[in-house]
Symmetry: C2
Subunit: 169 residues, 2 copies
């Protein structure tokens, strides 16, 4: 990279350092019996907030992707359910689960090294799930998704709106 580097430069030296750490976490996780994914969350000031390794098979948790684990750890560090302003560096392109977690965590930036095609070549469904998201949900063969309204379907939202002590997110 010949461009100027800095904490806020997506392709800068700091990005390379954090990405290298994410890749290291991923490789180490394979040696520990886990999936080949690692991620770190870094605050706007360059402070490490959290690290994650894929723990799906070790924790029997299909949502324990490296990025999700890193986001959860970072929120514990920050003491906040919002990571606005922070960045996620991840060894591989975030799958739809992880990118959705990025949205809810209000992260500002994502930088990834390998991509969905590398993941697919290693036997993972990231690209397939991206393809699903690119089609109409009504056309998905699996899973079956059905709306079934009940009397009282919106009662939880009515309760929410009436709750003086609610914490929005």
């Amino acid at each position: 990279m010949s461009a100027p580097t800095g904490a806020d430069a997506p392709g800068g030296a700091d990005a390379e350092r954090w990405l290298a750490r994410a890749v290291q976490l991923a490789t180490e996780n394979v040696a520990a019996g886990g999936g080949p994914f690692g991620a770190v969350v870094v605050a706007a000031d360059g402070t490490l907030l959290g690290e994650g390794q894929n723990r799906v098979t070790r924790d029997l948790d299909p949502t324990a992707h490296a990025e999700v684990v890193a986001i959860r750890a970072a929120c514990r560090t920050a003491g906040d359910f919002s990571l606005a302003g922070a960045s996620l560096y991840t060894s591989c392109e975030p799958c739809p689960l992880c990118l959705s977690a990025v949205l809810w965590a209000r992260l500002d930036r994502v930088v990834y090294a390998a991509d969905r095609h590398d993941a697919e070549a290693a036997g993972f469904d990231d690209r397939e799930f991206y393809a699903l998201w690119a089609t109409e949900r009504d056309d998905w063969a699996h899973p079956r998704i059905t709306e079934h309204r009940l009397d009282g379907s919106v009662a939880p939202f009515d309760a929410w709106r009436a709750s003086a002590g609610r914490t929005a997110y």
Copy 2:
């Protein structure tokens, strides 16, 4: 409903019972200071595997949506990271995070009561995030998402393929 009901009928009596339980969990969660969402995972034989309530603000975890919490609980009950054959009943249409979790958990079926528009009316971003997913990611204004390949980007996948003891998922 005048259609025949049964454990496998999306709109049947069992579905209504499980949906009502999910809605009850959602409403109770508001009273406990949490978000207005609840969900249950039910095995193919009709056994309850796990329940979940939104715990984003209480646990400082932006991924602790009711469906994710229920899936994690169900996996602990099942002792498996796959919930193939099982169904998710949820008080509100799963957001992209939760629907992606459904995909990775290999759930067979999703039935929901309220929808993304009800959630939006209560101040939640589900519909907005669905709209994002319906557009090209390169056109997203936020977050910034950058690929940055490194030497060694695919090293974790090489290690994975070389690992005799890997557990695929």
